[in-house]
């Protein structure tokens, strides 16, 4: 068992490419991440910032083990990861309850476990009797609340959160924020947190990683990183640039 503060996952020179279909027999390969390195420590909450298309979601997918890196190494020192995002694969014709069970199972949680936590999920999502209505009748906010409530019942060492927070009304945001803090403090959950909301990161994360141009720019104390990042948003000044064209590797 690794202790709080130890390295949980170490990412070294990570490169990830996707295949884009081009014509009948051609695939173009493009690199969503070219060279990213950082260590994730047990029990910390790490924010990830960067403009759209910087490769943040790709990074989370790699950490979650959804796909394999094309280059570099991702060394997991024995932690379990769950990737959570708002879409979570809800099926519109199923009820909230059925979706919660199925979604939880796809996150690797045993059926009985999800069922035993159902009351908490319903209460947290503030869904009441709506839990037995089909998801297609939910508002966007209700859906998001269910996704969030489910996310926080998932029993895992590392939570990889893609833009889930900041949903719902003010009250719900407050509530989810305090649950998140509570979980960080009491359960030693490690959190990697992708968002565009600088305030959220400031409030939740000690450290932040800035990815731009498909390479890591800086990973350091949140204050400092956000400073550099906001300067970039104003002036376009980067600390390092990705290779304009990395030759496709086979």
């Amino acid at each position: 068992m690794i202790e709080k503060g130890d390295v949980a996952i170490s990412v070294q020179n990570l490169g990830v490419s996707y295949w884009m279909k081009r014509g009948a027999f051609h695939h173009r390969r493009f690199w969503a991440l070219q060279d990213v390195s950082f260590d994730l420590h047990r029990g910390e909450s790490l924010g990830v910032v960067g403009k759209n298309g910087a490769g943040k979601s790709t990074l989370l997918r790699i950490l979650a083990g959804v796909m394999a890196p094309d280059r570099g190494n991702v060394i997991n020192h024995g932690v379990t990861c769950s990737l959570l995002s708002l879409s979570l694969g809800f099926l519109p014709y199923l009820t909230g309850r059925e979706n919660a069970v199925l979604g939880g199972m796809f996150q690797g949680q045993p059926k009985e476990y999800i069922q035993s936590r159902m009351e908490e999920i319903i209460a947290f999502a503030e869904l009441g009797d709506f839990i037995d209505e089909p998801i297609s009748s939910y508002s966007a906010g209700m859906r998001a609340r269910l996704a969030f409530a489910l996310a926080f019942q998932v029993n895992t060492d590392v939570l990889l959160i893609d833009e889930v927070i900041g949903v719902g009304d003010q009250d719900f945001q407050q509530k989810s924020m305090s649950v998140m803090k509570e979980r960080i403090r009491s359960q030693d959950t490690t959190i990697v947190f992708v968002t565009h909301n600088g305030n959220l990161i400031k409030e939740l994360c000690e450290r932040t990683l800035w990815i731009e141009d498909r390479v890591d720019q800086i990973v350091d104390k949140t204050e400092r990183v956000l400073g550099v990042y906001q300067n970039f948003l104003k002036t376009g000044e980067k600390l390092r640039t990705g290779h304009p064209a990395i030759p496709a590797q086979t």
């Binding site: 490419s17 884009m20 959804v66 796909m67 997991n76 996150q107 690797g108 949680q109 045993p110």
Partner: protein, 269 residues
């Protein structure tokens, strides 16, 4: 990282398999519900559709072309019901990973469960058309015989051959979506070559020799042996079908595991 093996609450291999089993059944049931909810008549379509199919083929082959004798209708329906299971499972499973791309991009479980889910969903559907078949057989005076005890075995052979076709396709289609077209035409060709709506033994010997190479012909004949002719199927042919299926299934599993870490990298255009 090894996907599901790294999930905290699932510690043993046994627990993992149990979890996969639950997941497949749950998702299959969900897809089944989706299918049922798609139109007003819902589940009734699974009985109506084979009936309509049967009516069309009976009209064309039974009445216009004088293919059949007295028992042509049960003969035809048996073939149609078995074929329909094979056809729907293979087409659905072949597209299954591609059509679940949203989930594929989210979770680290083995994607081979998607073709399995497709097969379980189609099996639910199969029970409906099977019920119809038994009603029609009873109506024609067929009775329950000892030979029915081999029915589960016959279904296992059908399922095995279906998987043998479905698994390799499911792994390749996400990368070559165009493959779905030849698959559809191939299925149609195989349908006409499976002796569903005519009697193979009345064909030219050369034609018969060609058709012998179609495994589905032997599978369908096997079901007819049990249900209609009250005799044991020709196990020699079926044994070959099983052997070939096993090899193809191993290949399919290998292909699926091989492709597992890269499915999510395919970007739909």
């Amino acid at each position: 990282m090894d996907g599901f093996y790294s999930m905290s609450m699932i510690v043993s291999r046994k627990a993992l398999l149990r979890h996969y089993k639950n997941l497949v059944l749950h998702k299959a049931y969900a897809d089944f519900r989706a299918e049922a909810a798609r139109n007003y008549l819902g589940v009734a379509w699974w009985v109506i559709e084979p009936l309509i199919n049967m009516a069309i083929y009976y009209l064309v082959f039974g009445i216009f072309l004088h293919v059949g004798g007295d028992d042509f209708l049960p003969y035809l329906l048996t073939g149609l019901v078995i074929w329909r299971f094979f056809d729907t499972t293979v087409s659905r499973a072949a597209a299954s990973i591609l059509s679940n791309m949203g989930l594929v991009r989210q979770t680290s479980f083995h994607k081979i469960i998607f073709p399995l889910i497709a097969m379980v969903t189609c099996s639910f559907e199969f029970t409906f058309s099977l019920a119809l078949l038994f009603v029609v057989l009873a109506f024609y005076g067929y009775t329950i015989t000892l030979y029915l005890i081999a029915f589960p075995l016959m279904f296992a052979i059908l399922a095995l051959f279906t998987l043998a076709m479905a698994l390799p396709l499911a792994a390749i289609v996400p990368f070559v979506p165009d493959l779905m077209k030849p698959v559809q035409y191939g299925l149609r060709l195989a349908f006409y070559m499976s002796g569903v709506m005519y009697y193979v033994d009345r064909l030219h010997p050369k034609a018969q020799a060609v058709l012998q190479w179609n495994p589905m012909l032997h599978v369908i004949e096997g079901f007819r042996d049990l249900l209609l002719y009250k005799q044991w199927p020709d196990w020699r042919y079926l044994g070959i079908v099983v052997a070939v299926s096993c090899v193809l299934i191993l290949f399919g599993v290998f292909l699926n595991l091989r492709m597992d870490p890269v499915y999510a990298k395919r970007v739909a255009s």
